[in-house]
Amino acid sequence: MTDIDTDPISGDKLLCDPGDLEAFATELEQAGTSLPHRINADPEGVERGLAKLVLTLIELLRQLMERQAIRRIEGGSLSDEEIERLGQTFMKLDVRMEELKQIFGLEDEELNLSLGPLGNLL
């Protein structure tokens, strides 16, 4: 029988060799980290997993609101006073997010969700 338990990419699959496959492997691994390998259903993991999901959604909303505010600044539809107030709000929200991330032991890179072919949420 043929030996089929070898990694085919090391053979004739490489049509264009960039000379540094390790760099590609690192990026592809990083690209896949938002996709959970398996759902962790143990009681301790559930709490952290839920916190991660909630904080990801909060971060998404924070970024959307901040971008909307930036567009309104660019459009000139906000007064200096309104810009000041928005800026204070976003800074406070950012500080609060940092505190929550520390409580649940989460890093910035972990606050993301893979949307498959659409890429990552954040």
Binding site: M1, T2, I4, D5, T6, D7, P8, I9, K13, L14, L15, C16, D17, P18, G19, D20, L21, A23, F24, E27, L28, Q30, A31, E59, R62, Q63, E66, R67, A69, I70, I73, E74, D80, I83, E84, R85, L86, G87, Q88, T89, F90, M91, D94, V95, M97, E98, D108, L111, P117, G119, N120, L122
Partner: protein, 246 residues
Amino acid sequence: MIYLYAITDRPEVAIPALPGLEDAPLISLAYRDVAAVASRGAGSGVSTALSSPEAVNVWRHEAIVEALMPDRTVLPVRFGTVLPDEAALRSMLKDRYSSFVANLKRVCGRVELSVQVLWDSDSRPLTAGRAKNINDQCSAIGGRAYMLARLSEEQLERAWRRRAETLVVEIRRPLEHMAADSVCQVLVTPRLLLKAAYLVAREQMKNFRKEINNLSLAYPELRFLCTGPWPAYNFVTDRKADQSGD
């Protein structure tokens, strides 16, 4: 339990003498002019392989799919696909027959080539949520300073993305001409400029490879990785599911 590797045409052609997962022999089950290539599991054996999808099992699955490719058209099945028994497999073949035939027609004589491009992401500006230094600097100054700093950051980010999109259009243009279909993702990570798959006629492979080499020379600041031929994993769609809106 039945572990499924691929759906193929030409059910009359003998399947290769390769061991399946857990060394189970391969079987072919035909329905009209299509066939399913699978292996029978004792249940626990295949389950073990699936609950621990180690590289050796994934490559074995891949090698079986590829061994089928030289003498028939192949629809690769995702690693880990199992059915309870042969009756379920027969029923699946019958229910999705028209979808399988349409997909087989689409990928017939074609292979999937993968293209990935890295670029230098050092020029990327700080991104939203990561610009902690802005927050630190501005907390003493005030909200307006924070928003203006974020505005400047956002403009740099947009310019960076525009540059990436322009490059991707330039890279994809010559490759698209040689492909029947393609899928692509831009900036999956800040450094991974392009991650794409192309459905290419076998006889076009040499030209495709040549074009990638031309692109490598034209864009020395980018790094190109092209691999293949692969089974057309990215170009098989379940039309039955599509039509029903599932």
